[in-house]
């Protein structure tokens, strides 16, 4: 199997060989739920950070016991996995108050998923301002202390710098991947690229970097995809499945970029540490100030600019903003972004969905109609 195939086929949880391998060496795995979790710190503490996902989860009977109707199906499915033992391999979990849905999931998880010994909640202010940064920085410092105490590891500045280097290397490679996607004839489909993105957060990063570097050679050697009707960018709620992207691409579109929190927003900015600088502060600074999530109140303009910039660079014909029903961060945001960009001549489709896509026929109809609309341009 080539590196590209291996990354694309990397299974989650049960069959994932890296989980077993890592734990076999007596090392720990800590889950995280949100873009703002400082992964470099986990890595510096010799902990493998695993982004919680619920790929393929179809039933939510256990989670429904604790959840209200207005909780989203993304957090509901992840909670279901926790309650049914799917995350028993985790030694700990780092939550963030990224959105209300995940915050509530934390409360249920804490009470009812006893297999996760260590659970920590990092809080972030809801706006970007200097005092807010001080708050988040302190939270990150405390988390680092707590993590080191709990997992009995020393965490030196050197360790932190090493963690930063590994993640910066990933970011550099992912930027290269996204550059290839921008070309007129991208050598990789959107569904494939998304699988490579998913793999990053469910395997050890150093190994990921090695495989991705190898995979890039294969991708570069391919012929580009020419026969598409429309170039599309995807944004909105967190995606942990390629289902929607496959629908878009089966209907003749090609997904060439995104503004997703697990996607492009994850690797735009590097963590830069000055020669005598504090690596921990540099990590906190990068997460807090770059590419804000819609949870941040005073940064709508920068998200619009980012969306427009990414759309322009990848020369897209239209943007599909998919939002999970009851997503508190993305629901109104998607409409606001559409209202900003449509008058500038950038077509936007707002698509509501559930985490487990069951209403495929109607989702297809909307995507097909959108492609009909933009491919005439």
């Amino acid at each position: 199997m080539t590196a590209l195939e291996e990354l694309k086929k990397l299974p989650t949880r049960k069959e994932n060989p890296y989980i077993k391998e890592w734990k076999g060496k007596g090392r720990s795995i800590v889950g995280f739920t949100c873009h703002y979790a400082p992964k470099e710190i986990f890595y510096a503490a010799d902990i493998f950070p695993y982004r919680l996902e619920a790929r393929g989860t179809r039933e939510t009977g256990l989670a429904d016991v604790y959840y209200h109707r207005f909780n989203c199906t993304y957090s509901r499915c992840i909670l279901q996995e926790g309650l049914s033992g799917g995350y028993a391999f985790l030694d700990g979990l780092c939550f963030l108050n990224g959105c209300e849905q995940i915050r509530r999931m934390y409360e249920v998880w804490k009470e009812h998923v006893p297999t996760t010994d260590y659970q920590y909640m990092i809080t972030i202010p809801h706006s970007i301002y200097d005092e807010g940064f001080e708050w988040y920085k302190e939270e990150v410092f405390r988390f680092k202390e707590d993590l080191a105490n709990n997992f009995a590891t020393r965490l030196t500045k050197g360790d932190l710098r090493a963690g930063i280097d590994v993640y910066n290397e990933s970011k550099r490679l992912l930027k290269e991947l996204y550059e290839l996607r921008k070309s007129d004839h991208p050598p990789i489909s959107g569904a494939e690229a998304m699988k490579l993105i998913f793999a990053a957060d469910i395997m050890p990063r150093e190994k990921y970097n090695t495989l991705l570097k190898e995979a890039m050679k294969e991708i570069r050697s391919r012929d580009g995809i020419k026969d598409y009707k429309a170039r599309i960018m995807v944004g909105g709620s967190p995606l942990d499945d390629t289902q929607i992207i496959e629908i878009i691409e089966n209907l003749g579109g090609i997904v060439v970029t995104d503004t997703l929190c697990g996607g492009s927003r994850n690797f735009q900015e590097f963590v830069e540490v000055e020669k005598d600088g504090d690596p921990l502060e540099a990590i906190a600074r990068c997460y807090y100030y770059s590419n804000p999530c819609p949870r941040m109140l005073n940064s709508f303009d920068s998200r619009c600019e980012y969306t427009e910039k990414m759309a322009g660079e990848a020369n897209v014909d239209g943007i599909i903003l998919q939002k999970i029903v009851f997503c508190d961060n993305h629901s109104v945001e998607c409409t606001m972004i559409a209202d900003e960009l449509e008058p500038k001549g950038i077509p936007v489709l707002n698509l509501e969905r559930e985490h487990m896509l069951t209403d495929v026929g109607r989702v297809r109809t909307r995507i097909e109609a959108f492609i009909e609309r933009i491919s005439r341009r």
Partner: protein, 280 residues
């Protein structure tokens, strides 16, 4: 040249036959269990009316929920594009189309040639669709076709508070138990339907030349309520049955595709660009 548009929806199937630039025949039937069966039966019926057979069709385009399952069609186009195209053909002044079908409600904006430039479609559920009215008619014990007439007798229409189609049926059931007059409930149902649709219309923005299509357009009480809620008069589709507009649009696209195919044949430099190389 004979062009056929076939629209297989969730509740009904329609076929429209056009020759050159006019509708020759059309048919509407209740859906069968399988979309291909609905398509075959409704098209066969329309062809029989026109004294034609499947062999006489030069080009057929299918649309609607079952659009990809129709063996005799040469291509499929979403019902959103088709409703836009059909309505604008029926009345060239049309720029916005409100289509209320069995399972979906859509608001479609078109340009002066009938090509769709924007749309919204109901996301959530059956609220605001034909399915909602059908369920309600059943609870009230009237035929769907009689719901509008019944509501026109209402003295004080009720207000329905539940958005969910199923919960709203319970609400209606309670009202019937309380002895509320059926006409008042029927009027409340039609009003609730109009309110739900109006949200979609406001989302896409109202343009001049608004037409209403789909099966629910035949319920004059809903149409009247919607016209009141939005504060506008709908433009007429002339003699075109609002329920066949999707199939009509498909037939018009069939004609366009047939003509384009002819043009390509006539220009030898056209070349075949079927080089499928999608990586998965």
């Amino acid at each position: 040249m004979i062009y056929v548009g076939c629209d297989v929806g969730s509740l009904s199937g329609e076929a429209v036959i056009i020759e050159d630039d006019s509708i020759i025949k059309y048919e509407i039937i209740r859906v069968r269990p399988r979309p291909e069966q609905t398509a075959f039966e409704v098209t066969k019926k329309a062809l029989a009316e026109a004294k034609m057979s499947f062999d006489d069709i030069d080009y057929c385009v299918s649309t609607g929920y079952g659009r990809e399952k129709i063996p005799f069609s040469k291509g499929s186009i979403s019902e959103i594009s088709c409703h836009g195209r059909g309505a604008q053909w029926a009345n060239p002044s049309v720029r916005t189309i409100i289509d209320i079908g069995g399972q979906d409600a859509k608001v479609i904006k078109v340009d002066k040639l009938g090509y769709m430039v924007d749309f919204v479609m109901n996301d959530k559920c059956a609220a605001g669709t034909g399915r909602f009215l059908e369920g309600m008619a059943k609870v009230l014990g009237v035929d769907l076709e009689d719901l509008a007439a019944l509501s026109s007798e209402a003295a004080s229409p009720v207000a329905l508070t539940k958005t969910c189609t199923v919960l709203a049926q319970f609400e209606v059931l309670y009202m019937l138990n309380d002895g509320i007059d059926r006409s008042n409930i029927a009027a409340g149902i039609n009003r609730a339907m109009a309110e739900r649709i109006s949200k979609l219309v406001r989302r896409v923005g109202i343009k001049e030349g608004v037409a209403i299509t789909g099966g629910v357009a035949k319920n004059f009480a809903v149409v009247q309520s919607l016209s009141e809620v939005l504060g506008l008069q709908f433009v007429s589709l002339g003699e075109v049955d609002p329920q066949i507009v999707g199939a009509l649009g498909a037939a018009l696209f069939a004609k366009e595709r047939w003509q384009k195919a002819r043009q390509r044949e006539a220009t030898p430099t056209g070349g075949n660009k079927e080089t499928k190389s999608v990586y998965v």
